[in-house]
Symmetry: C2
Subunit: 401 residues, 2 copies
């Protein structure tokens, strides 16, 4: 806790995934708390327009884009605009340069998928505290990242709303006193859809999430509940608990963000608005809580509903528990196969029900292994993607045969 | 947190109010955790039979009863039963002897009303940690008790389920980061009763509480919501917040025991079974959480309802906020007037609606004062009771005139 009269130290951020939804929310927090947060580096992907605007507005030391060509475009536009002193880099090495820059005090890791993995790992090795919005990092390389974080005494603060809620609820007891972590799930748009209609779900239907506005993959993952599956694995790694200690309760209002049940019988729950700026602010400011306008109107609360998740409608949940039990390559395969399958579903190459089928086939083909390097994780990831593509191609052949 | 391999130290308890509902629940915790808790002293009231059984079972050093006559009866029965070595004492001095006995490590203060005040204060001065189930102590003498606790570095752990929940939720942030404390209220049996029927409520109806089985006064206080009013004042004193920071939300299931809203927008809630053994165990074991069988079945939870309290139906809430703002003698008067009024209601001398009317009249007749000694508090308490009795007698005269 900061003592009265103590100066607030400016935290300079690396924002990995700056043009995405978490990235822009992070920048809106920086805007709101200019005495607390500044921007040191920004890593974006292919959105040169937004990266240009952000660079002009925030004047970071370094900006990284996906390719050399995009980086050249950005550099040229900055020159035309008369903005000097910003280094423009690119690719995986560019993202690492952003995450490890000496002026960075805190890294917001929000690149979707395993693309953010190397930069997050490098940041931990460089001793930078992490705000983690990228759940795939923890799913694919959780043991490596947490071991490195432990060795380098680097805190990893979860930005996922559920894990952020768990992090808060875990402050009222000891680790050995935790009985269950209960992740809440909105249940997605198909919570009430009859099982037999799941095969005919269209990408348009699946992209409409009832409570959160998010990226495309995470929205589809919410509809299949694979997202909750990834969160189960993430919770195991972040909080050092077994898969059997992580449970899911469906809570359509997404008001209770998660709960922790202690061995004495007390359950702590965290409630707040469904706005990612709150967990971002929590992660940035921990252990402090700055005053914000992200107020939940408790006086207007009338009811909260809960129900048990349906493992028949949502086989991805079962697959995630299976992968969590096996760990290592199976968690990598779960995430990789899902990413490939979601892409295929959005391209209308497979049905919605083809997503769990693809994952199941890839998991079955995955040998038990526990890669202990980032290179090993990425190799297992590539292999699983290859297998997923074959599985999808074979299924398509069968459909057309 | 206790380290692995560390011995558990036996805590020897003074249980003030041992034959009441909190007292017997405390003894059932002692029974369940014999390696953690023992009984040093027991202070009871007029129930010689139960006090005798407890003395035989727990072999305390001292037992206190309300009067010399009752104490003699108990001593004689213990002699007949061949139970030696138990000192039997009586009255206010007897209760103090129990709470300050040198072998006492922890005092459970559970005597209803201001009768427990002197013994609780004496225990604090003797450096004994307190588990406080007696809310009247905090309402009548909160400033004195908390100042003494602060001076003697004595923790006061709340056993009231709401304040216990608040204590838990307060562990996830700093005091300066607390925006509101939200006390949940079951709303009592008359939450839906039309306003015009409140005058005809009988003692039998008011004694039926929907969720908690408790003593008679607290059950009537729940029906009038004066109980919640006392808790508002108790929260102000226990947690050093202003009355405007304490809010009430009606939650008929009594599943969420209370909530704390932080300035960043996060709200923490505590959920558990409606069983007083849980807050008792929490207070006894704090900061540890021993494993218990007091499990709340979160998987079976279907919904939680919340609504705003109705200040028209429950004028006692408004009166409590008024007393909380003025503090001192007004808080003493609120509690004293209510105790007298509830007795009169149970004796059918006044109507249910006469309870808030009596309190309002007593508050109006109370001068602003802030007694700074226990004797001053007790004098103000006696004076308010006198006034309450006059108010009730005058009302009866008017009815019969």
């Amino acid at each position: 806790m900061r003592k009265a009269g103590t100066e607030i130290t400016l935290k300079r951020l690396a924002i990995l995934g700056s043009t995405g939804s978490i990235g822009t929310s992070t920048l809106s927090i920086v805007e709101q708390f200019p005495e607390r947060y500044g921007v040191a580096t920004l890593a974006a992907g292919r959105n040169v327009d937004v990266a240009f605007e952000q660079a002009v507005r925030w004047r970071p030391r370094v900006v990284s884009l996906a390719t050399e060509e995009l980086a050249s475009q950005l550099a040229a536009r900055l020159k035309v605009a008369g903005v000097n002193g910003i280094e423009v880099v690119f690719g995986a090495a560019g993202t690492v340069a952003c995450s490890t820059h000496p002026e960075v005090d805190f890294v917001v890791s929000a690149i979707v998928g395993v693309a953010g993995l190397e930069a997050t790992h490098a940041a931990i090795l460089a001793g930078k505290p992490i705000g983690l919005a990228n759940k795939e990092c923890m799913v694919a390389a959780g043991e490596i990242l947490t071991a490195a974080a432990c060795e380098h005494k680097v805190p990893i603060l979860p930005i996922d709303s559920e894990h952020n809620a768990v992090h808060q609820c875990l402050r009222v007891g000891a680790h050995s006193e935790v009985k269950f972590i209960w992740l809440t799930a909105s249940g997605g748009p198909f919570r009430r859809l009859p099982l037999e209609q799941f095969a005919s779900i269209t990408p348009e239907q699946a992209l409409k999430h009832p409570t959160w506005v998010m990226g495309r993959r995470i929205t589809i993952d919410s509809a299949s509940m694979l997202n909750k599956g990834l969160e189960i694995i993430e919770a195991c790694r972040l909080f050092d608990v077994s898969a059997s200690q992580v449970r899911v309760t469906v809570h359509p209002q997404s008001t209770v963000h998660s709960l922790v049940e202690y061995v004495d019988g007390s359950i702590l729950a965290q409630i707040s608005v469904t706005d990612m700026r709150l967990p971002i602010l929590y992660a940035l400011a921990y252990p402090e809580r700055p005053s914000s306008n992200l107020t939940f109107d408790l006086a207007a609360l009338s009811h909260l509903d809960f129900e048990q998740p349906d493992f028949e409608r949502f086989p991805c949940l079962r697959l995630a528990y299976e992968a969590a039990e096996k760990g290592g390559a199976h968690c990598i395969a779960l995430n990789a196969a899902d990413e490939v399958a979601v892409e295929a579903f959005l391209d209308r190459r497979i049905l919605f029900t083809g997503i769990p089928r693809t994952i199941e086939a890839v998991l079955a083909a995955t040998p038990e292994a526990h890669p202990d390097t980032i290179a090993g994780v990425l190799a297992a990831d590539r292999e699983a993607r290859e297998t997923a593509r074959s599985v999808i191609a074979a299924a398509a052949l069968r459909v057309h045969a």
